[in-house]
Amino acid sequence: MKTIKLKINGIETEAPDRTPLLQAAERMGIRIPTLCHHPLLEPYGVCRICTVEVRIRNRVRMVTACNYPVTNGIEVFTDSERVRRNRRMILEWMLARCGHVPVLNRLAEEYGVTEPRFGRGDDDCILCGLCVKVCSEVVGANVLGFFDRGPNRTVSTAYDRTSDRCITCGACAQVCPTGAIRIKDDQEGIYQAMPMGPLTSINIDFMQAVPRKAVIDRDSCIHFKTGKCQVCVDVCEAKAIDHKQEDRVEEVEVGTILLTTGFQLQDPRVLKEYGYGKYKNIMTSLDFEVLNNAGGPTAGKILTADGKVPKSIGIVHCVGSRDQKYHEYCSRVCCMYALKFAHLIKEKIHGCEVYNFYIDMRCFGKGYEEFYNRLLREGVNFVRGKVAEINDAALDPSEEGKLIMRAEDTMIGVVRRIPVDMVVLCLAMEAKPEAKHLSHLFSCSTGKDGFFTEKHPKLAPVSTPADGIFIAGACQGPKDIPDTVAQAGAAASAALSLIQRGEVETEAVTATIQEEMCSGCQICVGVCPYTAITYDKGKNKSSINDALCKGCGTCVAACPAGAAYQKHFRDQQIFAEIDGILAI
C-alpha cells in the first residue's frame, strides 16, 4: 500500500494511504478521544467526539478521526481550540442525556466541563451503537437495533421483547462503555455462575495442560452459532486460528497402549436426601475446590451464595461411597481431602465451625494420621455418623437461612441436628461410563463397579489381559495422587520394556485349513470375525491368512469336515486333555 505524508499537530509523519486518521494518530501516540469506536468494529462515527480539524490545501474541514481516511499532505489538528470547543459542547449535550455515566464525566472533566449548561440527564445509554454493531457485525445475531428517531432514539430488541435470536453471548454488555447493558441472570447465586466449565469459548483446558494450547469450545463459540464473529482470527498475530478445522481421526500405529482415562464424580442429585441443587450452599467437593482456588470466582474466598462469610460448614464424608445403595467401595481420597478442606476453612475463616461427618477416618498414608491429629487440635468437630438428611427446616429464627444436617452421632449415641451455612459433599469417585466401551475396544475388561480390571491384582497390577495394554490411575480404581503417580510410573515402565524389546511375540495359535479335507462349503468364511479366510473359487477351497488370523478358533469349531484346525488346540489335544482330566 502506498505510504503518504501528513502532519499531525505540527509533526510530520507517514501512514499508509487512506488509513483511518485515528489509527494514524495512535501510531504517533496521539490520543484522540472517542466514545463510539471499537477496534473490532467498523467505524460508526456517531459520537463525534473525535472530530478534528483537517487542513487540505488551505481549506479547513472538521472530520471525524475514526473514519476519515488520511491522504497525502493533509495537516491535522487534534486539539485546537475549535476542536476543544466542539468536544466540550458535545460532552455537555451528552451529559444532558446521561449525566451520571462515569466515562462521560471523566472525559468532560478533561475538557473542563464541570457544570454542564444543559443539566444532567438520567439515561445510561449514550447511543454509541457499539452494542448494536457488535451484535450484527461480530456476533451476527442481529438482535439489537435502534428504534425511533431523533431525541427519542433508543437501543432495544425488536418490539422490546426478549429475542429468541439472542444467544446471550454478552458481547453487547462487554462493549457497552457505560454499563447500560446488563445480562440478566435467571439463576441465582455464585454457584450457578461458578466457572466449572470454561470461562470463555477460547480457553486453555487447565493451567498445567500439556500441550498448553488454547482451544475453541464449539458449543459456546459465537462463530459456530451464528456463522459470524471471527474476532479471534483478527487478533491472533500468529494466524493460528482456523474455524474450519474439524475433528480428525488420526491413525497411529503403536505397540503399547496406556489406558489412563480417569474417573468421574458421582452425580450428587442422585442422593436426594442431601438436597444438592435444591438448596443453595450445598456443593460438591470439586465445587468447593474451585471456590477455594485463588483463580476461582471468589478469588479464593470461601463465601456463601449470598456472598457472605459462612460461620459454620459441614463436610460429609463417604457420599455415595461405602454405601450399598450406590458404591460399595471406598473412594479412598475423600477422608484426606475432607481433612484438607477443614484445615483450609479453619485457616481462611477465623472462628468458623467445621463439622466433619465420617464413618471411619481412613488416614492410611504417610503423615496422614498426624494431619488428622493436627486438625483435632485445630478444633475441627468430627462427628462419627452418616448424615441422614440435609434440609432447611428452621426451628427457630436463628436457624433461618441455614442448612440443617441431621445425623446420628454414633460416638455418643444421639441424633444430632447441626445448622450450618454451607455443606460440602465428598462424593464418590466412579468409573466413567465410557470405560465399558473402551474395555471392548482394548480387549480388557471392567469390573462390576466399572473400573478396568488389572491382569493380576498383585503380580500384574498395571497390565490387562490384553498384551501391550496397560492401565494406570483412577480408571483402574479410586486412588489418590501419589498412588496414581506410582502406578502410572509402573505402567509406563512396563510399556517401555515392551518398546525396548522392539518386538512382541504373537500367540502362535492361528488356525489352518487342510486343503485336501476342505469341501469348499465356506462356513468358515462366514464365521470369521477378521475376514482372514478367503475362498478360492477355482480350487473350491478356503484358506486362512496367517497374518489376519487372531486365533479365536471359531472357524475350527464351525468346520463340519474338521478341515480347519488351530495350532495348540487340535482336536487330538483337546480330546487328550479331556481324557487326562477325566482320568483322575
Partner: protein, 607 residues
C-alpha cells in the same frame, strides 16, 4: 379529428383537492348535452403552478385563464364562452393590486415573469399520455443523445451547461456524472442512476408537481443520464406521501417501456436501461443521499460519513449517481438545445467551470404570507423582490414584508435589505441561507422570528435520525433554549449559547441535515437579533406570536361591534353589545387568535 377548442383542466394535487376531476366530468357532460363534444375537447393536465387560485382551467386557443372554477360554473362557461365566445368575467383572475380582471394567461404577472424549462409542458399536456409528451418534442433529446452523441459527449454537454444539482447542494451535475462514469469504468462495476423524489421540506412541492405534470421529462432525463454514465439500472426513490405522482410516474414508465424507450435495446441503439420505483416511508432524512441509498438497500435510513463518496461507492457499493427530479427534468432540453443555450440563462460564466455561477432556471414553491402562492420557475439571478412582489403579488392585506425563508427547514431567513439580492446558489449561501430544493416561505410583520426558528428547529428535531450526538442532542437543547426564549424565560447569554451550539453543529454533525440545521437560528440571530433581544430583555414578542409574551386587546377606534369575535371566542373572553365597542378579558383569553381571523376591521390587537 380536429377540435376547435380545448379546455385544459389542471389536475395538480391542489386542484384535484379542489375538485378538478369532478369538474372535468361535469364539463364533459355539459358539452355533450349541448352537442359540442365533437368540437371541444376536455384535457386534464398537470399542475399549472398557480395553486392559490385552483381549480384552474384554461381555454385554448384563446388562452383564457379561469380560476377557482366550481362545478356550478360549468353551464356559464359552456354557454357564454364555448358557445358565444365571451369569457366569463367573474371567473377571470384579478391581481390583488389591480381592479380589472386579466383574461389571458400570458398577461397574468404570475406567469409573465416566469421562464419555463422544467415546467415547459405544464398545463399543456396530459401527463398520463406519452403521445402528448412526444407531440411536444418529448424523447427527441433521447434520440439525439443515443444517435448523435457519445456518452462522453453527453456528460460534457451537461458539464458545460453549468447545470447544478437542484436538490439543494448545488453540486454540478456534469462533474458528478463524470466521476460516476469514471468510477464505473475504473472499478468495472455498472453504476446506477437514482432519482431523488423524496421531497420532504415543509411547504415544498416542486418535485411532486414536475412528476405529476410531466413525468416523462424526468424519465427522459434519467435515460440520458444513464447513457452518459453507463448505467443500466435506475431507481426513483419517491416518498410514500405522493401517491398521485407515483401513479403517474409508474404509468409513464410503463408507456416508455411499451414504446421501446426503456428496457432492452432502447430505440434500437443497443442501450439497455430500466427504471424501478422505490417508495420511501416518509423520513425527512432519507432525502440525504447516503440515507436514501441505505433506505434503497432496505436498511435503516441513516446517513453515513461521506468521506467515501456515493458516486464511487453508493447503492450496493456500486457507483451511484443521485440527482433530484428537477435536475433530471432539465436534462432533455439541455441536450436538445445545447449547453450554450442553457448557460446563457442565469448568472456567471459556467462553461469553463460550473462552480462559477448558476445557470438555467429554478423552480420555487412560493408559500407563506404572499398573495400568489404556487409553483414558479424563474431564471437564476432574478431578485427576491421580483419573485415576491411581481410574481407573488406581494403580501396580503397590505401588511409589511418581514423575511423570506429559502431552502427548506434548514434554510435561513433573509430580511428586507436582502430583497434585491440575486437568487442563485452562491449568493444565498453567502447570505446565510441556501438554495435548498426551492422552498420559499414569505413572512410578514406578524411573524415572530424566534417562533419561526423554533418551528423549524422543532421540525428538524423531529426529523433528525438521531444517529449522531450533535444533531440529536444539539437540536433538542437548541429547541429547549428557543422555547425558553419564546416563553419569556430567556437570558441574554442564551444568544451566545445558541450561536456556539450552531457553530458546533456546523462543525460536527454527520450529515447535511445536521450541519445546516442551525441555519434558521443563526440567520435569524444575524438579521433579527433585536427580536430575540425583545423577547429576552423586554419580554415582548414584536410579531405578536409568542403567547406567553403577548396580550390581546380590542382597538376601540376600529371595533364596530359586529359581534363576530364574540361568536368565535371559545372562552367567552370577549364581551360587548352589538354595534357597540367590545371589550376583552385578558384573564379569560387563551390567545388562540380565533377573533383575529374573523375580525374584518383588524380591531384585535396583540401587544
Amino acid at each position: 379529428m380536429a377540435y376547435r377548442a380545448h379546455c385544459l383542466i389542471c389536475t395538480g394535487t391542489g386542484c384535484v383537492a379542489g375538485g378538478s376531476f369532478n369538474l372535468r366530468k361535469t364539463l364533459e357532460a355539459e358539452i355533450a348535452k349541448r352537442g359540442l363534444d365533437r368540437e371541444i375537447q376536455v384535457i386534464t393536465t398537470g399542475c399549472q403552478g398557480f395553486c392559490a387560485e385552483g381549480p384552474i382551467m384554461i381555454v385554448q386557443p384563446d388562452g383564457v385563464f379561469y380560476c377557482r372554477v366550481e362545478e356550478r360554473d360549468v353551464p356559464a362557461i359552456v354557454e357564454e364562452h364555448l358557445l358565444k365566445g365571451r369569457p366569463v368575467k367573474k371567473l377571470l383572475y384579478t391581481p390583488p393590486t389591480e381592479k380589472a380582471p386579466i383574461p389571458a394567461l400570458k398577461d397574468i404577472p404570475f406567469f409573465a415573469k416566469q421562464k419555463l424549462i422544467v415546467l415547459r409542458n405544464r398545463g399543456l399536456i396530459d401527463p398520463d399520455r406519452i403521445e402528448d409528451y412526444i407531440a411536444v418534442d418529448g424523447y427527441t433529446a433521447l434520440g439525439k443523445a443515443l444517435t448523435q452523441m457519445t456518452p462522453e459527449g453527453i456528460v460534457l454537454e451537461i458539464k458545460r451547461s453549468g447545470l447544478r444539482g437542484r436538490g439543494g447542494g448545488g453540486f454540478p451535475a456534469g462533474i458528478k456524472w463524470e466521476t460516476c462514469r469514471h468510477a464505473g469504468q475504473v472499478r468495472g462495476v455498472a453504476p446506477v442512476v437514482i432519482c431523488n423524489a423524496d421531497e420532504g421540506d415543509p411547504g415544498a412541492f416542486m418535485d411532486r408537481s414536475i412528476i405529476e405534470s410531466d413525468p416523462h421529462s424526468v424519465v427522459e432525463g434519467m435515460i440520458i443520464a444513464a447513457r452518459g454514465i453507463g448505467a443500466s439500472e435506475g431507481f426513483v426513490y419517491i416518498r410514500h406521501e405522493y401517491p398521485l405522482a407515483r401513479q403517474r410516474l409508474q404509468l409513464a414508465l410503463d408507456h416508455a417501456r411499451e414504446f421501446g424507450l426503456l428496457g432492452k435495446n432502447i430505440l434500437g441503439a443497443g442501450m439497455d436501461f430500466d427504471i424501478e420505483i422505490r417508495e420511501g416511508a416518509g423520513a425527512f432524512v432519507c432525502g440525504e443521499s447516503t440515507a436514501l441509498m441505505a433506505s434503497l438497500e432496505g436498511k435503516l435510513g441513516e446517513p453515513r460519513a461521506k468521506y467515501i463518496h456515493t458516486v464511487e461507492h453508493g447503492y450496493q457499493d456500486r457507483p451511484s449517481n443521485l440527482n433530484n427530479v428537477e435536475t433530471y427534468a432539465n436534462v432533455p432540453l439541455i441536450i436538445l438545445r445545447g449547453a450554450d443555450w442553457f448557460a446563457s440563462m442565469g448568472t456567471g460564466d459556467v462553461k469553463e467551470n460550473p462552480w462559477n455561477g448558476s445557470s438555467g432556471t429554478k423552480v420555487f414553491s412560493l408559500v407563506g404570507k404572499i398573495n400568489n402562492t404556487g409553483l414558479i420557475e424563474v431564471p437564476m439571478g432574478i431578485s427576491l423582490r421580483e419573485i415576491i412582489f411581481d410574481i407573488g403579488g406581494g403580501i396580503p392585506k397590505g401588511r409589511k414584508f418581514k423575511a423570506v425563508q429559502t431552502g427548506g427547514p434548514s434554510g435561513g431567513c433573509l430580511p428586507e435589505e436582502k430583497l434585491d439580492m440575486a437568487v442563485d446558489f452562491d449568493s444565498l449561501t453567502e447570505a446565510g441561507s441556501m438554495m435548498g430544493s426551492g422552498g420559499m416561505i414569505v413572512m410578514d410583520e406578524q411573524t415572530c422570528m424566534v417562533d419561526v426558528a423554533r418551528y423549524f428547529i422543532a421540525f428538524l428535531t423531529e426529523e433528525s435520525c438521531g444517529k449522531c450526538t450533535p444533531c440529536r442532542e444539539g437540536l433538542k437543547t437548541m429547541l429547549d433554549v428557543l422555547t425558553r426564549i419564546g416563553d419569556g424565560k430567556g437570558r441574554m447569554e442564551d444568544l451566545g449559547l445558541l450561536e456556539e451550539m450552531g457553530a458546533v453543529m456546523q462543525d460536527c454533525c454527520l450529515c447535511a441535515l445536521g450541519t445546516s440545521a442551525p441555519n434558521p437560528v443563526l440567520s435569524t440571530l444575524q438579521y433579527f437579533r433585536h427580536e430575540y433581544e425583545a423577547h429576552i430583555r423586554d419580554k415582548k414578542c414584536p410579531g405578536g406570536v409568542c403567547k406567553e409574551l403577548i396580550t390581546y386587546g380590542i382597538d376601540p377606534a376600529k371595533c364596530d361591534g359586529c359581534h363576530a369575535c364574540v361568536r368565535a371566542c371559545s372562552t367567552a373572553a370577549i364581551m360587548g353589545e352589538v354595534k357597540k365597542v367590545h371589550t376583552l378579558d385578558v384573564h379569560k383569553c387563551i390567545k388562540c387568535g380565533a377573533c383575529i381571523e374573523v375580525c374584518r376591521r383588524d380591531a384585535i390587537t396583540r401587544t
